[in-house]
């Protein structure tokens, strides 16, 4: 087995203790201006009036075949796969597209929402990010776990938030947060160049990542009209205007297609570095 087994055994309890007791402390990066002040304890509207959005993201055409990864250097990761280790960013089952970040882009301006107490988790297991795509609310603690027990570094390169690059050479957890909304914050591991993940940071709790069945839910929204955006790391973005009515669930569906492969995907908020305002050309970085 791994040469780190001994370390793992010894350290895991200590690490977990350390995380429980001591983390979330001093190193949390401060953000660039966009974050709100102290979040309110309650929802800024009468929840009895809420409605829901529910939907599916479809994929038309043939998805690219999964990429075969050379994991010979990390046998303990490779053995977690049946056959050759593979990775796919366009994950389609029965025409449904997974790992699409869907969120309310417009329509909630001026409302301050409480930060959810739970801490979403990104796990590094089998030398990949699980999940690949994840949403958090601004200032919400995000837990990054290493279950592989071998060296990963988490190199986050946002544009409006501050970056971080922390080392996790053993089974351990690290907590970070992002004070400013940002679609999306890329994370990567420089030890394993194939590892890429994306974190969507929004100023409210209405975000969702499509499941393996391509479905998403945005629940308990105030009634009103919203612009919903669906973001995919390879296929780009789509928007729809959706009306939410009290007590109802509005169905929405997005369709991405094979032809969109290689689309320019916005990554990081478009912003002018000198002004920290919207960039004049409206384009931030673009994913590779």
């Amino acid at each position: 087995m791994s040469r780190f087994l001994n370390f793992t055994k010894t350290i895991a309890p200590v690490a977990i203790l350390g995380v429980t007791v001591g983390c979330g402390g001093g190193d949390a990066p401060a953000g660039g201006g966009g974050g709100g002040d102290a979040a309110p304890a309650e929802m800024p509207f009468d929840v009895a009036t809420a409605g829901n959005i529910s939907g599916t993201v479809m994929f038309e055409g043939t998805p690219p075949p999964p990429e075969i990864l050379d994991m010979t250097s990390e046998a303990s990761c490779a053995e977690q796969y049946d056959g050759d280790p593979t990775q796919s960013f366009v994950t389609v089952a029965d025409g449904q597209l997974a790992n699409v970040f869907v969120y309310v882009k417009e329509g909630l301006e001026g409302m301050d929402f409480p930060v959810p107490a739970e801490s979403p988790l990104i796990d590094q297991a089998g030398c990949e990010y699980l999940p690949q795509v994840l949403g958090v609310m601004t200032d919400q603690p995000l837990t990054i776990r290493n279950s592989d027990g071998l060296l990963h570094n988490i190199n986050a390169s946002p544009t409006v938030n501050r970056p971080f690059n922390v080392s996790q050479p053993v089974n351990m957890e690290t907590e970070r947060n992002f004070p400013a909304p940002e679609i999306m914050v890329p994370i990567e591991c420089n030890v394993h160049g194939w590892m890429s993940g994306y974190i969507g940071v929004v100023a409210h709790p209405y975000h969702s990542v499509t499941s393996a069945a391509g479905s998403f839910d945005l629940s308990q929204l105030p009634p009103g009209e919203y612009v919903i955006e669906a973001w995919h790391s390879q296929l780009g973005t789509q928007e729809q205007t959706v009306t939410v009515t009290t007590g109802q669930t509005t169905e929405v569906s997005f369709t991405f297609s094979e032809a969109m492969a290689g689309a320019e995907v916005p990554l990081g908020e478009p912003f002018d570095p000198h002004e920290h305002g919207p960039a004049q050309d409206g384009i931030g970085r673009v994913s590779e």
């Binding site: 780190f4 370390f7 350290i11 200590v14 690490a15 203790l17 350390g18 995380v19 001591g22 983390c23 402390g25 001093g26 190193d27 990066p29 401060a30 660039g32 201006g33 250097s73 071998l150 060296l151 570094n153 988490i154 190199n155 986050a156 390169s157 501050r162 970056p163 971080f164 690059n165 922390v166 080392s167 996790q168 050479p169 053993v170 351990m172 957890e173 690290t174 420089n190 030890v191 394993h192 160049g193 570095p273 000198h274 002004e275 920290h276 590779e288």
Partner: protein, 598 residues
């Protein structure tokens, strides 16, 4: 007298009002901008985006200040640097990059104004306010144990993934590393601490382990302390271990490579022969070839260590240099593409990644020049060609060649030249061996013992896309095949000394006896007049002093060439001869003929 204190007081009260903080800052900004535009903008760009006209010739690229991302800080991962952090980089530069230090070039006030101005390029400085430095502990003591424990953590937290098992920057992940702007970035070779971006000391190494190098793949290890995986002392020991991988001092080039002489037949034939271990190593720095087009601004090989031996018949060189891969290595093919994209388009050379070998060339003039009339160091020219040994990793082997410029190199075949090479843990070692006598004296150098022979070096790292004019070069140095110093060198003068001394004593004793017995000096029964005896004594004394001066010259040249043992023994001989000569001269001169004993 009575008004001036009042005026002074009034001035003291008004002065701070006139130059309030914003006013001072505005002055600072104005001056900072002037200095920036004069000295910094050509690399860092007028807008601070790291894209000045010279930036394309640099890898790593100049800092893009608009991102608010800084490698060398005293603050946590992802945080802004303090003003002192920025000032330190301006003062000291960034070793291992093209960024020089400005401490001796610009006045303190200008450098401080620069800090103020540079911070205006990113509004993070405004929105986030002044960052707090990490509280860093003091250094722990260094010992064999602390270094050994540091090695254990180097292994367990997998520093080798990027930096390699021996620390030479050749880890498995090394060819995949890119910086925040998507440019290729090398895992630093830990055995060359003088190329460390943020300083070479153990304190600076520890600090970087805590802060990480933002914008690069190098992460912060502070979370490991928080998680209780390692103690602060253990992290210090890791820093001690990393420091121990590099020599105490940065090596400096020496003009002359000395090839020591060994007994006939004992010139090593293998690059791994243990007899190399005790042979002195000479460091030759190399730089990118930036004279002939296409030029090369991203050289991989920055120096070669040279050892040399000869036995009077053959000469062998062992060359050792850091190289992150054994080219051509498919794992580095993508890296080649990145490097070429970053560096080459402006130079118009071959920009396709491909299987290129590692190469090393040793260059001599075809004949030992009379004066200091050397061929052009960049592989000679039409009038004055050079003679070369060209080694390649694939197909493995070496040949001899005549070059008349970088693009005119003719092979002379490989007859008489043998090579043996080994790549291990990010390092090539290469042995090149040839007889002193040339197989074709018309075009090949005849090595002469005891003379200074010009020598120069070229290196290409194939996996860094290097070939032809894209490579590293040195200027001319010299190799000196040490003259034979057999044991008789030391014995002969001693023997001569004893012999002359003994004969002298014998002659004097007999002469004295005759003098007492017969009132005349006699040597071997022949009568000698006192004047002749005096002349003999004076001559012996003078000859001894001449010998003494020769011994003294040998002694001094021994010392100056670094052979303290030879210098010492010749010194002893010189002292003996001097004393003997003086005694003989003075004794003879003072001797008065006293006639037969009464």
């Amino acid at each position: 007298m009575s008004t001036s204190p009042a005026l002074f007081l009034a001035g003291a009260m008004v002065f701070p009002v006139l130059l309030s903080a914003p006013a001072l800052e505005a002055q600072d900004l104005e001056r900072g901008q002037e200095v920036y535009e004069q000295w910094c903008a050509s690399c860092h760009g007028a807008e601070g985006s790291g894209d000045g006209p010279a930036a394309e010739y640099m890898l790593p690229r100049p800092r893009d200040f608009t991102l608010g991302l800084f490698q060398i800080r005293t603050t946590g991962s992802g945080e802004l640097p303090t003003d002192e952090d920025i000032l330190r980089v301006i003062n000291e530069g960034m070793p291992g990059t093209t960024m020089p230090g400005w401490e001796d070039e610009l006045p303190q006030a200008d450098r401080e104004a620069l800090v103020t101005y540079i911070k205006t390029f990113s509004s993070f400085f405004e929105t986030l306010g002044a960052p707090e430095p990490l509280e860093l502990s003091g250094a722990t003591g260094v010992s064999a144990e602390s270094i050994a424990e540091g090695r254990i953590f180097y292994d367990s937290i997998e520093c080798w993934q990027c930096h390699g098992q021996a620390g030479r920057g050749d880890g498995e992940s090394a060819p995949t590393l890119e910086d925040a702007a998507g440019n290729p970035i090398r895992a630093v070779d830990l055995t060359k601490n003088w190329t460390f971006n943020g300083g070479s000391s153990v304190e600076e190494i520890y600090r970087r382990l805590r802060t990480g190098l933002d914008g690069t793949p190098m992460p912060s290890f502070s979370d490991l302390l928080d998680a209780g995986f390692m103690t602060d002392d253990q992290l210090w020991n890791l820093a001690h271990f990393v420091r121990s991988l590099a020599p105490e001092e940065e090596p400096t080039a020496q003009e002359v490579i000395v090839a020591g002489q060994v007994l006939p037949g004992e010139v090593p034939t293998q690059v791994t022969d243990e007899s190399w271990d005790g042979v002195e190593s000479f460091y030759i720095p190399l730089v990118g070839q930036i004279i002939e087009s296409p030029r090369w601004f991203d050289p991989s090989v920055d120096g070669v260590w040279v050892q040399a031996l000869h036995d009077g018949t053959e000469v062998a060189f062992r060359l050792t240099w850091g190289d992150r891969s054994r080219s051509p290595d498919p794992a580095w093919l993508e890296w080649q593409g990145w490097v070429l994209n970053a560096m080459e388009p402006k130079e118009g050379g071959e920009i396709f990644p491909g299987p290129r070998p590692d190469r090393l060339t040793v260059q001599f003039p075809p004949t030992i020049p009379e004066e200091m009339d050397l061929p052009y160091f960049l592989m000679g020219d039409e009038q004055e060609p050079v003679y070369q040994w060209r080694w390649s990793s694939a197909p493995a082997g070496a040949d001899k060649a005549t070059a008349r410029g970088l693009n005119d190199v003719q092979s002379l075949g490989s007859e008489g030249l043998t090579s043996d090479a080994q790549w291990e843990d990010g390092r090539w070692q290469l042995l090149l061996r040839r007889s002193l006598v040339a197989s074709d004296p018309e075009s090949e150098l005849e090595f002469a013992i005891g003379q200074s022979i010009p020598i120069a070096f070229f290196a290409w790292d194939g996996d860094n896309s290097e070939e032809e004019t894209r490579g590293s070069v040195s200027s001319w140095y010299f190799v000196h095949l040490e003259e034979e110093t057999p044991p008789s060198t030391y014995v002969a003068p001693l023997f001569a000394l004893l012999l002359t001394g003994g004969l002298g004593v014998l002659v004097v004793r007999r002469a004295q006896r005759k003098e007492h017995e017969d009132g005349v000096w006699a040597v071997s029964g022949a009568k000698v007049r006192p004047a002749m005896a005096r002349g003999f004594g004076l001559t012996v004394g003078a000859v001894w002093l001449v010998f003494a001066s020769i011994a003294l010259r040998n002694s001094l040249s021994g010392w100056s060439e670094g052979y303290s043992d030879i210098g010492f023994w010749w010194g002893v001989i010189a002292a003996f001869l001097t004393i003997a000569g003086i005694v003989a001269l003075v004794g003879t001169a003072r001797h008065r003929y006293q006639g037969p004993r009464k």
